[in-house]
Amino acid sequence: MNYFIKRVLEIIPVLFIISFIVFVLVFVAGDPVALLLPEDAPEEAVETLRTSLGLDDPFYVQYGRYVVNMLQGDFGDSFRYGQDAMSLVLERLPATLELAIASILVAIMIAIPLGIWSSTKKNSSIDLVATGAAVLGKAMPNFWLGIMLILLFSVTLDMLPVSGRGSFSHLILPAITLGTGIAAEMTRLIRSSMLETLSQDYIRTAKSKGLRTGIVVYKHAFRNTLVPVVTIIALQTSTLIGGTLITETVFAWPGIGQLLIQAVNTRDMAIVQACVMVIAFFVIVMNLIADLLYQVLDPRIRYK
């Protein structure tokens, strides 16, 4: 419990540092006034707006105000949509989560069988193919894989929609694109984790008792491998979210990634800040969950 409280408290300085980094970046980015007013706006109008937005205040006053607002979930209004930035981000969140969860499921469906299979037949041709596929999955840029899938399934075979969100068929290609990237790393880790478990004494004992290989592999080895696997899935959140950013652009998936990239291109800084903070918070919470799950799943691990 002590450890839990310590870990939760550690989140606070991290979130503050992130907010500071983002604030400095936006501060450096310069004056949003130029974007808010028409180019031929009179000098006084510019000054009035600057003062009313508090842009004439010194750096620390602006940062202080920013932090106070941030703690209330207020990142200001998006000048493009004229709406509260935070609610715009939260509106897009379900789409991104849908894609992320579907991708994890795809990754699990590929990686677990492949990882187990290749570890039980180490150095066989199956193992070679599986590890080869994992390396290839890592080497292929995700967005290119997405484009190639569109080329094959949408353009050539005309089986699946090119882009957008809606029906289940819209989800298939983006989920496969993002899922295979994660599956590559996952397969490698499951394989090495399984290999380590399979060399343990209790596996030899189980085998020498005359248990069937299937039972030894699934009941004794795989269950113990689950601990690192679950942790890995949670720790991949950052990669996963990074992947959604670009996959969403390729497939015009209306999630946070698409919103963010549009916002970066139009310098809509309120949305950029809200996106970064929401994503960072999400990643931190998932990492915390990974840490705690590790402890719950494996009673041998007890943190001080």
């Binding site: 550690e10 300085p13 991290v14 540092i17 992130i18 980094i21 983002v22 970046l25 936006v26 450096v28 980015a29 390396v135 290839l136 890592k138 080497a139 292929m140 840029p141 995700n142 967005f143 290119w144 484009i147 190639m148 569109i150 080329l151 353009v155 090495s192 950052s238 990669t239 979210i241 990074g242 950013l245 670009i246 652009t249 390729v250 963010l260 990239i261 970066v264 291109n265 310098r267 950029v272 996106c275 970064v276 994503i279 960072a280 990643v283 931190i284 990492n287």
Partner: protein, 298 residues
């Protein structure tokens, strides 16, 4: 006597290279990796001589020409041309320059920052360590590509900005690894002995700790050249990296995406180039890890 020394040194050097070569040839993937990497380096350096055309020469009468083995294609444009009639092969050859330049220089930049932070934080501990590790945690909570995107949005896209941004966003992994190693090495006897006889901290860090951590750095750095090349192409694909008329594999891919329905080769070949390059670097990096780090288990 002193005269014979240089020759002996040469002998040692020679046999050292031979030993490395032997180790390399023992690994098939390592050899393939090195060959791919050397080829790309060669192509990037000699691009102006190897490429059949300038990368941005447009030819309005010769647009959307397919690769040579398809109907309508010929050997004048081996991999076809794009919507402006630019030769795809030439663009890919020139694109290797940007990919390698960005990949290597941003990894070097990130490495310098990361290794210094790791050495000092690990050695001195205390507040310095706590500060940098919290900073590292903060960077880790923001996906790399996200931070790079935001920074490129703020500072504007371009080659130099891209290198700087990727350098500044990627230092964390080196800092963490080097710090971890330093924490264990600094308790070893030779470091303690050096401290006892009054060697300056700066000298302990650079002549005792640094040589002991550099091999882990090289391994991680090699592998992250691969991920940086992918990151660069992703950012260029999103329009926030390399800007025309400069050409990178990511920008060719991004141009080609609009013509997917009619000219599949535009988006296919640059992606293939990225995949092969990254594969080569991963192979080389994996081999380096096996050779340089005896503790790592395959």
């Amino acid at each position: 006597m002193p005269d014979s020394l240089p020759m002996q040194n040469n002998l040692v050097k020679n046999s050292k290279w031979k030993r490395w070569l032997k180790l390399l040839l023992r690994s098939k993937t390592g050899t393939v990796g090195l060959l791919i990497v050397l080829t790309i380096v060669f192509v990037a350096i000699f691009a102006p001589w190897l490429a059949p055309y300038e990368h941005s020469v447009i030819d309005p009468l010769n647009t959307h020409k397919p690769p040579f083995w398809m109907e309508g294609g010929d050997m004048a444009n081996v991999l076809g041309t794009d919507n402006l009639g630019r030769d795809i092969l030439s663009r890919i050859i020139y694109g290797s320059q940007v990919s390698l330049l960005v990949g290597i220089s941003s990894v070097v930049l990130a490495g310098v920052i990361g290794v210094l932070v790791g050495l000092f934080a690990g050695y001195f501990g205390g507040f310095l360590d706590a500060f940098f590790m919290r900073l590292a945690d903060s960077f880790l909570a923001i996906p790399n590509i996200l931070l790079a995107l935001v920074m490129l949005g703020v500072f504007g896209p371009g080659l130099m900005t891209l290198i700087l941004v990727l350098g500044v966003t990627n230092w964390v992994q080196y800092a963490r690894i080097i710090r971890g190693e330093v924490l264990s090495i600094k308790e070893r006897d030779f470091v303690r002995a050096a401290k006892t006889i009054g060697v300056k901290n700066r000298n302990i860090i650079f002549s005792h700790l640094y040589p002991n951590v550099i091999s882990s750095f090289i391994v991680v750095a090699t592998l992250s050249v691969a991920s940086t090349i992918i990151l660069e192409s992703s950012l260029s694909f999103l329009g926030l990296g390399i800007q025309p008329p400069q050409v990178s594999w990511g920008t060719i891919l991004s141009d080609g995406r609009d013509y997917l329905a009619t000219s599949w080769w535009l988006a296919t070949f640059p992606g293939l180039a990225i995949t092969i390059a990254v594969l080569g670097i991963i192979f080389l990096g994996d081999w380096l890890r096996d050779v340089m780090d005896p503790r790592s288990v395959k």
